[in-house]
Amino acid sequence: MSAYVTKSPWVVHYDGSSCNGCDIEVLACLTPMYDVERFGIINCGNPKHADVFLVTGSVNEQNKGIVKQIYEQMPEPKVVVAVGICACSGGIFKDCYNVLGGVDQVIPVDAYVPGCAARPEAIIDAVVKGLGVLQAKRDAMLEQKPAEEAPAEEAVEETAEAVEEVKEEGGEE
């Protein structure tokens, strides 16, 4: 049975040391143009209510504690999506003296969205992919064992199809 968490993923968004480009794109997903609420996605701004953690920008010495704390405050099942090339690897800021690199330097990341800035379609795609991971984690929670690395194939396929449909709809306009 598919878990309800895949039907109502609430998002908390944290801006690491991003240039703000990716943040604007994350917010663009909420606008009438992309309207992620039709998938039940809400930007709830509270880690304790959130299922999906969107991080934009790289982690540095100052914010690594914050990123960790937000992650720890989220109740299981949860997924982390790194948005933009900065969040994936450090990107253009990689060589700065205070930058540690991508978000995966401090917390486990489930989906990476490349791009500078990441496109809203790609962000939605990543969140929907993350739903497969959420489903797998939920199943693992039910069986009382640690989550497997690979997300449930079926769920990913299903959600990927949904995204394709949306993209087609968008293309027609």
Binding site: F39, G40, P77
Partner: protein, 289 residues
């Protein structure tokens, strides 16, 4: 009489969360349409609550969930008293106790956001309580009884003689439903300066229970609107139910067209309304009935 009461109690227990959840779903759809979005499925609030029940348990103190449980029990109890035809004053005070426990639950977490939310909820209570009491008093003055049963049995519609009180009640419903411009203590929208205000620290099933009790609460607050129209005939019932549901969507409309106001405005506005519309109406009732 007793059979009737038992039937309405069971109907309330089963139907109220369904109706409340559906109204919440339609509300989100309507808000989305007003913003030219597609919006979530109508059943989305149910998905949200089922999801919340799937989440891990987490609480800053072990007392918090206990207080929330008392809140839920008292909210449901106040609705039960109402739909069983009980005393309006008892209903109102039971609901007040429920809200008080929600506030205590928020305070117990010791989180700054929850505390600010709890404080604002206290201010909101102070703002709407006078009008709530005046509404009950108005019903008493017109019908000569605080009992919902007697009010329903009356053969005249009390809307016109109680028009001021009706408008006042609709006004404070915005506070009670926590909708803009008075969504001071928490909000379903993306006002994030308080994180989630009152509900910041409620996780998973605790939050789910709170959502469900809001559905119960909404239905029974709309029940008050219905009381203004009951006149013992089928027409009274139909008009009452239609107006009650319309009221909800008027609140959604207001929610979408106003920005959040400061608590000072909420306080002044609702006291002025209570004094001008409520008191004057009570005085008129005193002279005429």
């Amino acid at each position: 009489m007793i059979v009737k009461a038992v039937i309405s109690i069971i109907a309330y227990l089963v139907l109220a969360p369904l109706v409340g959840g559906l109204l919440a779903g339609l509300e989100r759809k309507l808000s989305a349409k007003m913003q030219r979005r597609v919006g979530p499925p109508v059943l989305q609030p149910f998905y949200d609550v089922f999801k919340l029940f799937e989440k891990e348990k987490m609480a800053p103190t072990r007392f918090q969930d206990f207080y929330v449980l008392i809140f839920v029990v008292f909210v449901i109890a106040s609705g039960l008293l109402f739909f069983a035809g009980g005393d309006l004053l008892l209903v109102i005070f039971t609901l007040t106790i429920a809200t008080a426990f929600l506030i205590v639950a928020a305070y117990s977490s010791n989180s700054p956001y929850a505390e600010v939310g709890a404080e604002r909820e206290l201010l909101a209570m102070m703002a709407y309580e006078p009008m709530v009491l005046l509404t009950a008093i108005g019903f008493y003055m017109y019908h000569g009884s605080f009992n919902v049963r007697d009010i329903l049995a009356s053969d005249t519609m009390c809307l016109l003689p109680m028009l001021g009180i009706f408008v006042g009640w609709i006004f404070i419903l915005t506070l009670k439903f926590r909708k803009s411009p008075f969504d001071l203590s928490m909000s379903h929208h993306a006002h994030q300066e308080l994180v989630r205000g009152l509900t910041t620290e409620f996780v998973g099933r605790t939050m789910g229970l709170i959502e469900i009790s809001h559905w119960y609460e909404n239905v029974f607050l709309l029940g008050f609107v219905f009381l203004f129209f009951a006149n013992g005939t089928a027409w009274g019932w139909v008009i009452g139910i239609v107006v009650a549901i319309l009221t909800y969507f008027v609140e959604v409309f207001i929610d979408n067209t106003f920005a959040r106001m400061k608590w000072q405005f909420a306080f002044k506005a609702s006291w002025i309304i209570a004094i001008v519309l409520g008191m004057v109406n009570i005085f008129v009732l005193y002279l005429c009935y």
